[in-house]
């Protein structure tokens, strides 16, 4: 039990890490990773929704009729997204403004619905919780690393939650704004995906 639990948790961190291994949820991945800070914020919001929707769907898996299951999942997910939205408006308003419409759009993030359908609806609540947490943390790490690549190349520094930069490379090379703009997002993700393929496939 403990072993399989650990397996479900760790698969989200490497073997099935979204969005690199599971190519899902690309919209927020590309849109919010202008900086590490935004990436972490978006990742944590998604993790919250993922964990609680997985838990609830798993608890209700024998109650929900198969025919209308997708609609039920969407209502459950939308409820948790609304909670995240209201909490972020109350406590982290500047971050909420930066992430903009991508917070309500967690509803249509294929990762959340995908885990509900593929995992939570077939497994017990503890397993579903481990799966949600693993995939969520994996997603947060991916967004943070993509954010780091883009922020370093595009701005030369990394700044988290205001204050002075915690990492500064702007003296070493001239930062190119291409990376923090839209085209750079596609190119950076494509090249990171290639890197992952290079490491992963033996």
């Amino acid at each position: 039990m403990a072993q399989s639990l650990a397996k479900e948790f760790t698969k989200g961190l490497w073997a099935e890490i979204p969005p690199f291994r599971l190519v899902l949820g690309l919209c927020p991945t590309l849109a919010v990773t202008k900086s590490v800070e935004n990436g972490i914020g978006m990742g944590l919001a998604t993790t919250f929704v993922l964990v609680f929707s997985n838990l609830l769907i798993s608890l209700l898996r024998n109650v929900i009729p198969t025919k209308v299951r997708i609609a039920c999942y969407i209502v459950i997910i939308a409820t948790f997204v609304t909670i995240v939205e209201l909490v972020m408006q109350a406590y982290t308003y500047p971050l909420f403004l930066k992430l903009g419409i991508f917070i309500p759009l967690i509803v249509v993030n294929c990762i959340v619905l995908g885990r509900a359908e593929a995992f939570a609806s077939k497994n017990n609540p503890v397993m579903a919780l481990a799966d949600g947490l693993g995939i969520g943390i994996g997603f947060t790490l991916s967004l943070a690393s993509l954010g780091a690549v883009r922020e370093i190349l595009g701005a030369g520094t990394i700044t988290i939650w205001g204050g002075s930069p915690i990492f500064d490379m702007s003296n070493w090379f001239h930062p190119f704004t291409f990376m923090v703009e839209a085209p750079g997002a596609f190119a950076a993700l494509g090249l990171m995906l290639a890197g992952m393929n290079l490491i992963g496939k033996k």
């Binding site: 190519v23 899902l24 949820g25 690309l26 919209c27 927020p28 590309l30 849109a31 997708i70 609609a71 969407i74 209502v75 939308a78 409820t79 997204v81 609304t82 939205e85 209201l86 419409i101 309500p104 759009l105 509803v107 249509v108 993030n109 294929c110 619905l113 291409f178 703009e181 839209a182 085209p183 750079g184 997002a185 596609f186 190119a187 993700l189 494509g190 090249l191 995906l193 290639a194 890197g195 393929n197 290079l198 496939k201």
Partner: protein, 190 residues
Amino acid sequence: MEFFELAIGSIFINNIILAQFLGICPFIGTSKKMETAVGMSMAVVFVMVMAGMITWSVDTFLLKALNVEYLRTLSFILVIASLVQFVEMFLKKSIPGLYAGLGIFLPLITTNCAVMGACLLNIGNEYHFTKALMSSFSYAIGFGLALILFAGVRERVNLGPVPKPLQDTSIGLVTAGIIALTFTSFRGMV
């Protein structure tokens, strides 16, 4: 003139895929063949315009009137999901030709964030009804334009000798980056 500017802005400058990053999943998923790209684009134009009108009305006459704006996310996704279901049944019954063409792309649209994103953008920009309708239509055309362009390029790229780790999605994303770069040159237009 105002509408013309809005249309050019939404199609080219703020292209929903290449500048706003909405609807990337179908953009990558349905662009391997030109045929599927055309089917998806048509389905999106159809649903996005209808969803734009209905969500605008729901927001104005229901949510704002009753002062329950915090239910926006929940109600919009329900409206879009049921709209897609309804459109599917309606087309199957009355326009079988179009249904056969759009076929499998219709159910996929529920989780297409471009549709919901366009609706939320209309509300966020506080457009009135005609403007919201116009902007939904322009966003949908922009979506189709980007998807069809990308599918054409991708068909050619996949014929070439692509290095193994870069194959498929990876080279697709880099290609999309280059297309996005060409779209940035529209910025000075309006």
